[in-house]
Symmetry: C2
Subunit: 619 residues, 2 copies
C-alpha cells in the first residue's frame, strides 16, 4: 500500500512523494529531495533529523526523542524522522534547508601550473566526397584521416554518422580522447572544447569548468552532497548502499544529480552548451568514487576494508547519466586503498609530493584524516578514523562552519573573546573554534593536559573568577560556558562539555598517531620534517599554533606548516588539463605504499600516547 507524504519548510518550500506504507520518514524525505540533516544515518544517535508532523500530533514521544528534543518542541509535534514511519498520508515540516556553510571557492584560487595537453582533442576535417570511384564507407572515410591508428567507435556515433557527415557537406570535427571517438560534429567546431573537474566530498561537491584550448578556468560551483540525507559519514552511506541495488542506485543518482546541477550552472555562467563539455575528471574518497560509479561499496566497511577497484576508471558520460556530451569520458582518478581515495591522489598531484627531495608530510583533516609522507624516495599513506568532531558532529553545540558558528576563541586576562562567522549571535562552535577553545583553555589552565576540565573548587582554585564562573558541573565532569545565554542565538548557554573534549582528544590523537607511524616506518621523527602541508579547506581555517598546542599537528616551527587549500580539487583539474598529470596519477599506484593502521599494534600504543592535550614532544 502506498501513502503520500507532503514535505514543506516554514518558508514554503514544498515537495511530495508517494512511498510504500511503513517507509522511514528520513528515507521518504530523501526521496522527496528535502534534505533533513542526519549525521548518524538513521541510527537514532545524533538527534539531528528533527521534523514536525503537521496534520496530527505524534502521540507519546520515544525516549530518544525526549533526549534530543525540548518539551516545547515535543509539544509542537517535532519528532525524529529516523524513528518514524509513513503510516498514512502525512504532512511533514522539515527545518529550513541550511546550505549556507562556509564555502570560499573562487577563480582566484591558485591555478595549477601544468603543461596544457588535455586527453580530449578536436580535429577539423574537410573530407573527400564519395564517388563511384571512391566508395569508401563513411566510417573508414573519417578514420583514414585521423592520426590515431586504432580508434574505438561507439555504436551510438556510428548509427548517426551518415547524416552528420552530410550535414555540412563532409566538413566535420572529430572529437577523440584516449583512442576513442567521443563525438563527430558537422562543420568546424574546434574552438569550442570544454571540460569539468570535480572534487566529490562526503559533505560538499565542488566543480570547475575549463576551456581546454586555453586551460583557463571559466567558472566554479559547489553543492552540498545530497547523499547527506543517508548519513553524514561514509560508513552510514556504505551501510545504506549495502541494503540492496535500489539503495545503491539511489545514492548514485543523488550524487549524479548534484553534479548535473553544478554542470548546468557552470555552463550557464560561462555561456556554453553542456554537450560542448567532452571530458570530466573526478576525485573523491574511495567510498564517494564507488557510489559515483554505482559500484557496490559494501566491503569497504568491515575489515579488511576491500575496495572493488583501485585503478582509474573511465566511463562514457551516457553510461552514468552525467550531463555532458554523451560520448564524453568521465575519468575517476585511482584510489590507493579503502580509506585513502583519489582525493589523496589529487593532493599528491597538486603538491608534487612524489617529486620532492625533502621530507614532507601532507595532512588532510576530516572525518577520516588522510596522511601522506614523502621521504627518502618513498611515499607512504595511511588513514585514521578521526571521527566527525572537526565537522561539529558528536559535539554538543557543534555545527558546521556556517553563520553563527564560533570559529575562533582566545582567552586574554581571564576574558573569553569569540569570533563568530557572519558576526551573528553565536549558535554553536565549528571545528576551528573547537581547536582554538581547547588550546586557549589549556593555556589558561582550565583544561588539564589529560583532557580533564578543572574543578573550580579544587584543581582550578587558582583561576581568575571570570573563568571560574564559566565552569559548572555537567555530564561526565565540568563544562565550560563559551557564550552565555544572554548573547547566544538560541537563548541558552553554549558550553563545551567534558565529553566534547574527549571526542576532540580521540580525533586529534588518531591523526597525530598516524603521522608518528608513517615517520617511524621511514626511520624518522617529526623533528626531521621539512614541511607539513595542510590539505583541505579546513586547513585554511585552523590556527596552526592552536592545532600544534593541543598536539593535533607535530611540534615543528610554525613556518614549516603550510595550508594548501583544496589540493584534491586542484589535482582533478590538473588531470583534466594534462594527460601527463593523469599518467602521473596512475603511476602513483605503483609508487605509494599504503600503511594499514588497523593491523598495527604500535599504532594503538602511539594513539594512546597521543590522546593527551599537548604534542608528545612537549610532554
Amino acid at each position: 500500500m502506498k501513502v503520500k507524504i507532503s514535505f514543506m519548510t516554514a518558508s514554503g518550500l514544498k515537495s511530495e512523494v508517494t512511498v510504500d506504507r511503513g517507509t522511514n520518514l528520513l528515507e521518504a524525505a530523501a526521496r522527496a529531495g528535502m534534505a533533513v540533516e542526519g549525521n548518524c544515518g538513521g541510527k537514532g544517535s545524533c538527534g539531528k533529523c528533527k521534523v514536525r508532523l503537521r496534520k496530527k500530533l505524534p502521540g507519546e514521544p520515544f525516549d530518544v526523542e525526549k533526549k534530543f528534543l525540548s518539551p516545547a518542541e515535543l509539544a509542537e509535534g517535532w519528532v525524529l524522522a529516523c524513528r518514524r514511519t509513513a503510516d498514512e498520508d502525512m504532512e511533514v515540516e522539515v527545518p529550513e534547508q541550511s546550505d549556507a556553510f562556509r564555502r570560499k571557492i573562487s577563480l582566484t584560487e591558485e591555478e595549477p601550473a601544468v603543461e596544457l595537453e588535455p586527453a580530449v582533442r578536436k580535429i577539423e576535417l574537410a573530407l573527400e566526397q564519395p564517388t563511384v570511384e571512391d566508395q569508401t564507407p563513411d566510417l573508414e572515410r573519417l578514420l583514414r584521416r585521423l592520426p590515431e591508428k586504432h580508434v574505438r567507435v561507439p555504436l551510438r556515433l556510428l548509427a548517426k554518422l551518415p547524416q552528420v557527415m552530410r550535414e555540412d557537406n563532409f566538413a566535420v570535427t572529430a572529437v577523440v580522447s584516449a583512442e576513442r571517438l567521443i563525438a563527430v560534429e558537422p562543420g568546424r567546431t574546434a574552438e569550442r572544447l570544454y571540460g569539468v573537474a570535480f572534487d566529490i566530498g562526503t559533505t560538499t561537491i565542488m566543480g570547475s569548468l575549463h576551456d581546454l584550448n586555453s586551460g583557463r578556468a571559466l567558472a566554479v560551483g559547489a553543492a552540498t552532497n545530497p547523499q547527506n540525507v543517508y548519513g553524514a559519514d561514509v560508513i552510514s552511506r556504505i551501510t545504506y548502499a549495502s541494503g540492496g541495488p535500489d539503495n545503491l542506485k539511489r545514492l548514485q543518482q543523488k550524487v549524479i544529480e548534484a553534479l548535473n546541477g553544478i554542470i548546468k550552472e557552470l555552463a550557464r555562467k560561462a555561456g556554453i552548451k553542456r554537450h560542448e563539455i567532452y571530458e570530466a575528471t573526478a576525485v573523491g574518497n574511495t567510498t564517494m568514487s564507488h557510489l559515483f560509479l554505482g559500484v557496490d561499496p559494501t566491503y569497504l566497511a568491515p575489515a579488511p576494508f576491500i575496495p572493488a577497484f583501485r585503478r582509474a576508471i573511465a566511463v562514457e558520460a551516457a553510461e552514468i547519466g552525467l550531463d555532458i556530451n554523451p560520448g564524453g569520458q568521465v575519468v575517476v582518478l585511482p584510489n590507493i586503498a579503502g580509506y585513502v581515495g583519489s582525493d589523496t591522489v589529487g593532493v599528491i598531484l597538486a603538491t608534487g609530493l612524489e617529486k620532492r627531495r625533502d621530507r614532507c608530510a601532507v595532512i588532510d583533516i576530516g572525518t577520516n584524516g588522510e596522511l601522506a609522507l614523502a621521504a627518502g624516495g618513498r611515499i607512504l599513506t595511511c588513514s585514521t578514523a578521526a571521527g566527525p568532531a572537526f565537522e561539529g558532529a558528536q559535539i554538543k553545540y557543534g555545527m558546521r562552519a556556517a553563520d553563527g558558528a564560533i570559529e575562533a576563541v582566545r582567552i586574554e586576562d581571564g576574558e573569553v573573546i569569540l569570533k563568530v562567522i557572519g558576526d551573528a549571535p553565536p549558535r554553536g562552535i565549528c571545528g576551528s573554534g573547537l581547536i582554538d577553545a581547547a588550546a586557549a583553555l589549556l593555556k589558561a589552565g582550565v583544561l588539564e593536559p589529560s583532557g580533564r576540565l578543572v574543578d573550580p573548587e579544587t584543581s582550578g582554585a587558582h583561576l581568575p573568577p571570570s573563568l571560574k564562573a564559566r565552569l559548572r558541573p555537567g555530564k561526565g565532569g565540568f563544562e565550560f560556558i563559551l557564550a552565555g545565554k544572554e548573547i547566544a542565538a538560541g537563548g541558552e548557554d553554549i558550553v563545551l562539555t567534558q565529553p566534547d573534549l574527549r571526542e576532540l582528544q580521540l580525533a586529534k590523537g588518531a591523526i597525530y598517531a598516524g603521522l608518528q607511524i608513517l615517520l617511524k616506518d621511514v626511520g624518522l621523527t617529526e623533528a626531521d620534517l621539512d614541511e607539513v602541508l595542510l590539505a583541505g579547506a579546513f586547513g585554511n581555517y585552523i590556527r596552526k599554533e592552536s592545532a600544534r598546542a593541543i598536539g593535533l599537528l607535530p611540534a615543528i616551527p610554525l613556518e614549516k606548516i603550510t595550508p594548501v587549500g583544496n589540493a584534491a580539487g586542484r589535482g582533478a583539474r590538473m588531470a583534466l588539463l594534462s594527460k601527463k598529470e593523469r599518467a602521473r596519477a596512475e603511476a602513483l599506484l605503483d609508487l605509494v605504499e599504503h600503511v594499514e593502521l588497523s593491523a598495527r599494534r604500535d599504532f594503538q600504543e602511539a594513539f594512546i600516547k597521543a590522546l593527551a592535550f599537548v604534542s608528545v614532544k612537549l610532554l
Copy 2:
C-alpha cells in the same frame, strides 16, 4: 488521437494495437506483429498486402484495389492495407500467416571444418581471500590472475563484482573475449560455454547454437525476417528507415525480436540458459547489417551507394538488446561494399575462396546477385540488381518456395509435367520452377531465344497441338498455361506471361553479365573457369542444366557447377568457432577488390547481350 486496431486471421490468431489515427494499415499490422505480405513496401505496386475490413465495408474501392483484387474479394471487404488508414477502431482480417516456405536446414548439413578456438573463453579461478596484509581490491585481485594484460571491464560488471566474488568464497569463473571481460560468475562454470551464429537474410533469418567447448552444433532454427512488412527488398527497407530515427529503430527492433525468438527456441531445444551464450556472430547483406545494428542505411540506396561502415563491428549484446549474456559480444562480420555484404564474406570464408589456386566463381542468386571470382591470386566481387523474380515477386503467379509452388517443369512429347512442393494442387510458381519452365519452353520451341513467346498461328505453327492449346493472347504478347484451372488450387489457370519472361530475362542477364565483367577484369573468359559454386539455398534447388540453358549460368560442363548451400551461414559459424577464421574475414577486406558495375559502360553492353535466353557462348 489514438485508435485501436484488432488484427486476426480466419484461424483465430489475434493481435491488437493502438496507433495514431491516420496510421497506414500496413504499418499498423507490422506493429501488431501480424505480418502482411507486401513486396513493394507500401508503394501500391505489388497488390500482395490484402486484408479484409470486418466491421464495416470499405466503400468504393481504389483503382489499384480493383486492379489486384477480384470482384468477389472486393465484395467481401478485402482491400489493400497499404492504401488504407486506421481512421477509427477497426477489426481487420489478415490472410493466414504463411511461414511454411521451404527451409531445409538441419544439423546434418555439412559442418565447417575449423580449428576450434573461439574468441570467448572461460577461466576458472580460486582467488586468494583478502586479508589486512593483502588488501588488493576485488578487481585487481581478479585481473592479476588473468593471462591477458589489458582487459577492458564494463562498469556493469565492476558494479556487482564484490558480491559475485564472495558468493562462492572467491571461487569465480571469468569470461573473456578479445581483451574484454564479458562476465564473472560465482563458482566453476567453465563447462557451460555457448555461442550462436546468425545469417540474417532479407527474407529469412537462420541461427545455430554451438557448444564452444566442443564445437558441436546443438540446435538450429529459422524465422521469417519480420521486417518484410516494410517491404520485401532492401530498397524498400532503406526507404522506410530513411523516414527517421523512429523508423530505423522499428526495423532494428523487428530483426532483434526475430533473433531473440530464435535464441529462445535454440536454448530451449538444447536445454541451456540464454545467459550461458556469451558470443554471437552474424552475417547479412550490407543493409541487413546496418539495420541489425541500428545504423542509418540511407546512403546505401542512391549512387554512389555508400555504407556507413565496412569493418567488422563488435558490440555488447546489451547495447542492442540481444538476449544472450548482456556482456556477450555480438560480432557482425565486415561487409565489402554497399551491395556485397558480410554474407558474401561468409561465403568466401566457407568456400575458402581466397586460398584456392584455380579459377573459381561463386554466384549467390537472389534479389541482388552477388558474385565473387578468385583467379590469379586476386578476388573480385560485384553485385547485380537481379530483382526479385527468383523469389516470385513481379511474376504474375510467382510465389516463394512454399507448398503449392511449381518447383520443376519439364515438357516431354508435348506434355507439360509439373512438380509441386508438398504434392499439393499448384498455387503458383517459384524461382526454380520459373527457370525450369523457361528452359523447357525454350527447348520445345514455345519460347524464342529473344524472350518472346511464339504466336501459335504463325511462328509457333510447328508446335504440337497440346502445346499450342496452352498458348493464348495475354498482356504484352502471348501467355502460356502452366496449370489449367481444373487442377490449380485457385480455380483459375496458372500462366506464364510475356512480362514474366521479360522479368526473368532482366534477372538472369544481370547476373550473367556481372560474371562476364569480373572475368574480363582478370583477362579470362568463362571457358577458363575451373569451378562455379552456387551459394545460397536457392542454388540447391535450381536445376543446373536449366539455368545454364537459359544463360543464367555460364556455358561450362555441369560437373564444374557445384551447389554449396548456405555458405554464408557456415561462414558465420566458422567465425564463431575460430578466432583465426574471424581474422581471415577481416583480412579479406584488404584482399577483395570490389567492382562497381553501375560505373561501367562495358557492363551495360554485356547486360544487353546477356538478355537473350541462351548462354552467350551458344548464340
